[in-house]
Amino acid sequence: MMGHVHKEVSNITFSLISPDDVEKTSAAKVVTPELYDKEGYPVDGGLMDIRLGVIDPGLRCKTCGGRLKECIGHFGHIELARPVMHILYVTKVYDIIRAICRECARVLLNPEKIKKEKELLSKYRRAKQFGLLRKRAKLITNRLKLIKKCPHCSEKQYTIKIEKPSTFMENDKKISPIQAKARLENIPDKDLELLGMDPKFARPEWMILKVLSIPPVTMRPSITLETGERSEDDLTHKLGDIVRINQRLFENINAGAPEIIVEDLWELLQYHVTTYFDNTVLQIPPARHRSGQVLRTLSERIKSKEGRFRHNLAGKRVNFAARTVISPDPKILFNEVGIPKSVAMELTIPERVTSWNKEWLLSLIKNGIKIYPGANYVIFPDGKKKKITDETQESILEDLKEGYIVERHVIDGDVSIFNRQPSLHRMSIMCHRIRVLPGKSFRLNPSVCNPYNADFDGDEMNLHVPQTEEARAEAEILMQVETQIMTPKSGYNVIGCVEDSITGNYLLTKEMTLTKEEASELMVSVGLDTIKFKSATVKGTEIISALFPEDFMFFGSAKQIDEDGKETKLVIKKGKIISGIIDNNSIGENNGELLREFFRKYGKEKTLQLMVNLFRIGIKILLKRGFTTGVADTDIPEHIVKKVHASIDVAYKEVDELIAKFEAGKLEELPGKTLNETLETFTLELLNKVRNKVGAIVAEYPSEKNSTIIMAKAGAKGNILNFTQMSGCVGQQALGGKRIERGYSNRTLSLFQKKDLGPLAHGFIKNSFKRGLNPVEFFFHAMTGRDALMDTALRTPKSGYLYRRLANALQDLRVEYDQTVRNANNTIIQFKYGDDGLDVSKSEGGIISVKKAFNDILGK
């Protein structure tokens, strides 16, 4: 392969460009505003001059001889008839011009002080502390603007005022850019240091433009419209304006036109040059297209989210990526991703031909680009890349030797990187193994939805295929799904069992007993064919126990109610479940205690395996047993409904009593609250209690066979509150922690009496979702619903900005080899990360448990 030179940039120095350099590096001097001649060929000396680069296919650059895409373009220049201010440097010129003598152009600093300041400034410069240097220089110039007499030549100084955007006034007389430039030119090099400048990099007079650099054509390409018409870039338009006015100014000066005309043209030139640099200057109207659209000139190209920095430099576009809709597939592994064949045939991996894989690669080339495990390109040792087509196939098959590189289609087991935006944490980009599946969407195991925060309501995700060995190795070792089980945020597991698999495990460990045959069949069906059961009947707990190693010990902390209604906790001793039920608290996401303990002892691979096994068994069990849920689950018998209504009526009465007490003035004020507020507090408390009461009544009724309740108890989906709201009563609607108050004066809706303090008038919903809400209740419910919606909509951008700032402030911090945390300047931020040097994701929330260690070693 052709050896290419790898260069590394070690530093970048910023400086002003001098007029000499502009001319020296210029490929062409632009003298005419015309762009093309009659044939549509670029005019010599025009803005599209082919010495500045080419954007038309077929043309060759006059400077470097390159064709389109080969030539990166060359800068040109315009000689301005009169100097103009550079708008972005106006404030800097203003600072400097006030700090120097109007006569001798020396810096207005006392000769005694000069030496001291110079020493300090050069110290900063040597230490490369440019921030301090700038601050000090600014301090000096700020002090000097008030000085009335030059300490060097004793000339009297006048205050100079700025007339925005770019005119200086001294004693009500204008300082023209020519005069300003002259003053700046006279500053001796030795004084520049005091202004924070270094003549090597910047002379102040360079801030006033006499020659203007013209960016290459490639930076402002024109678009050819369907009609064949050319549409020029905004910058070309603006530069055209500048050249036109500049030429007119030249002509007028040469023709000896009256000063007033020259002045006007000069002003106009200043305007055009100003808007060329920055079209958002406050005091002047922005330059526009004929259609009235504002031009996007240099500053706007750099600034903001869509600007060069954030859009093109900090973020980049890549090849070998795919994006499509995701859908679930519980049968693939957690660390796999299913991709459609059509995607697999576009994404390729470069594979070098060796004697071991030559045969295989040849077969892939034979398949070509149209048959699935095929190949798309072959790269020759000289660096040339050839697409495999019907024509080239033959010759490539003959030519292929060791050392060639074949870009083959991805196959099962290849490494890929999978991502869902917004990428809020590192678990948003993980490494999955590719599995080519029929269909048109990406498939992922529902258990990895949580780290991506994905669901299947139309979400799309991105997939990348790393192209080098290094990238693949990093992806595999650092980004593999199993390495991301524990979040560095809190040390909890972000990946666990979800939904049906939890319900399955719950039912299995709680109440199920299988025959030996059934149990064996179950184990085999999830791929565990080595486990044998001895007894004729197998309890659910025994099946799960078979998944644990023999020395596994676990003591759950969550209280559970077992089959017989007794209170237990999940206990596993020597790999056997002694008591308790497996539920969301042990194997779920975020709080899977059992998974955490398992991870601590046996590491990531085994934990992932355990999760997969539990997941599969859970689902298989549900398939076997049968499990369904529907509206019928929320049916409750009439006598329970009556009970619910009765308890609501009791609460109503209590509220009425409270109001009566309030109106009679017998209510006692709570400390620090007014009487009205006290009443509100009590009422809200009462009404909130009602829902809990209703919840208790409703939860009493349904049998253990109610699927909704089973799911709620297992922690798989939903909770008792949801059930209460569906079948019992929705309860009090609250806005900002209070009952609903808004609306008309002294009432929420016009159908209530004024000053009605009762529950119905302030958003209590007596009905259940299933029975249906009446119009008033519906309205209140919609109010709280809207409030929640607004909250989310307003919060997202705020927290997004906070995150951007945080990431920006902290991105350079790293842990050094000596365990200190340092930033990019090598300043120590912490002597030991978190005071103990523990990684949150590697220890359970940053805690090394001494008790557990005793249990492990002493075997208790």
Binding site: E8, V9, S10, N11, I12, T13, F14, K128, F130, G131, L133, R134, A137, G196, K200, F201, A202, G307, F309, L313, L424, H425, R426, L478, K489, S490, G491, P671, G672, K673, G736, R795, L802, Y803, R805, L806, A807, A809, D812, R814, E816, Q819, V821, N823, A824, I829, Y833, G834, L838, D839, V840, K842, S843, G845, V850, K851, A853, F854, D856, I857
Partner: protein
């Protein structure tokens, strides 16, 4: 036991060793068992150590950024009780991280020395003495006497009694607060009259409004006080904060008294206390929202905000402005300003941090991009290798 403990000193955090020794005594383990256990703990500790090169900053930013999307925007919540409202959720977190000088709801928790903290009367007395009383608080009615061109304020007798004020002391305080005003007092009335002869009605009205704001008694800035009982102990929650003056009250327990105003802590107690306040306040917000973020992340943020010796916010004028790289600053906000300034001084970007290297398509100095390759050369072959090739 202690000898075993000594052996591992410095190899493990002392806290773990101490805990292990205590546990061993409780379970009456043998020396060998303890050694085995500590050895086991050490293995666990070494496994759980943070890897060198870990880009811990970005991990911290993620750990804050991700949960912040789940926080509520509900600004006010009551600090457990009654009237003293405190900003919470995302707005408060932003306030802390921005290091705002003026916070929306400054508040203090004033603890009382052990001798008095069970005595409600002492607590109430302290609370009353702290609360800032303005002239308007102790006046029932302001009247402008048009014939005499003066203001007459009727005093609220009960309040004055409660606050142990007399018309004379009030008049004195007013005299200090208002210039060019003649203050005369009678048992239930205070009269204000401007010294200047040309008394326009407008001026008198202005004077009336101005007098309402005059500070009479208490501690400036503390607008609400509320004695609260928690865990068998009384303390005072306030709206408004003035740490410096509160610390001078002799009944209070200065070791526990705190404020949520970062800059007050910085001014009164110094940078380390300010760091601690950042940690405490951020932790409060996160816990209040029911979220789970490890303390290490909060500590790192507090540390980076305070390493310079003053509190710097996580804003463009705070931490980002202190970055040495021009490109890093430019890529955050206001890029043009940074480039213009850099060009004048001839600033050099050393490309030491992450974002510049991303821009240039080069490996970033974090994680796997941090180490360089060091190769051991066979003797004799060294001559052929030019010196100084190995970078970083």
């Amino acid at each position: 036991m202690e000898t075993v403990a000594k052996e591992f000193e410095g190899k493990l955090p002392q806290k773990i060793i101490n805990e292990a020794v205590a546990e061993a005594k409780k379970r009456s383990c043998s020396k060998d068992q303890l050694k085995k256990i500590i050895q086991y703990l050490k293995e666990q500790y070494d496994d759980a150590r943070i890897t060198a090169g870990e880009g811990i900053g970005i991990v911290t930013a993620e750990s804050f950024g991700e949960p912040s999307t789940q926080m509520t925007l509900n600004v006010f919540h009551f600090a457990g009780v009654a009237e003293v409202s405190v900003t919470q959720g995302l707005p408060r977190l932003i306030e802390i991280l921005d290091a705002r000088k003026e916070i929306k709801t400054p508040s203090m928790e004033i603890y009382i020395k052990k001798e008095f903290n069970k005595d409600m009367n002492v607590v109430k007395k302290v609370a009353a003495s702290i609360k800032e009383t303005k002239f308007a608080d102790i006046v029932t009615e302001f009247t402008i006497n048009l014939s005499k061109l003066q203001i007459e304020a009727t005093l609220h007798q009960n309040r004055i009694k409660d606050l142990k004020l007399t018309p004379d002391t009030i008049a004195k305080a007013l005299g200090e607060g208002l210039k060019n005003v003649i203050v005369t007092s009678s048992p239930n009335k205070i009269t204000l009259k401007a010294k200047d002869a040309e008394n326009e009605l407008m001026e008198i009205y202005k004077l009336k409004e101005k007098s309402k704001d005059i500070f009479i008694k208490g501690i400036k800035g503390i607008s609400q006080v509320l004695p609260v009982k928690k865990d068998n102990e009384f303390f005072i929650v306030t709206a408004g904060s003035n740490l410096k003056e509160v610390l001078e009250i002799k009944e209070i327990d200065e070791t526990k008294t705190s404020t949520n105003s970062l800059f007050e802590v910085l001014a009164v107690l110094g940078i380390e206390a300010a760091r601690r306040t950042v940690i405490n306040e951020a932790k409060k917000v996160i816990e209040n929202q029911g979220l789970d973020v490890d303390i290490r992340h909060i500590m790192l943020i507090a540390d980076i905000m305070t390493t310079s010796g003053t509190v710097k916010g996580i804003t463009r004028s705070g931490i980002t402005s202190g970055k040495s790289s021009v490109l890093a600053r430019a890529s955050f906000e206001t890029p043009i300003v940074h480039i213009i300034n850099a060009s004048l001084v001839g600033e050099e970007d050393q490309l030491n941090s992450v974002i510049e290297n991303v821009m240039l398509n080069q490996p970033v100095p974090l994680g796997t991009g941090l180490p360089g390759l060091v190769a051991k050369m066979i003797k004799g072959a060294e001559k052929g290798i030019p010196k100084g090739k190995a970078k970083k």
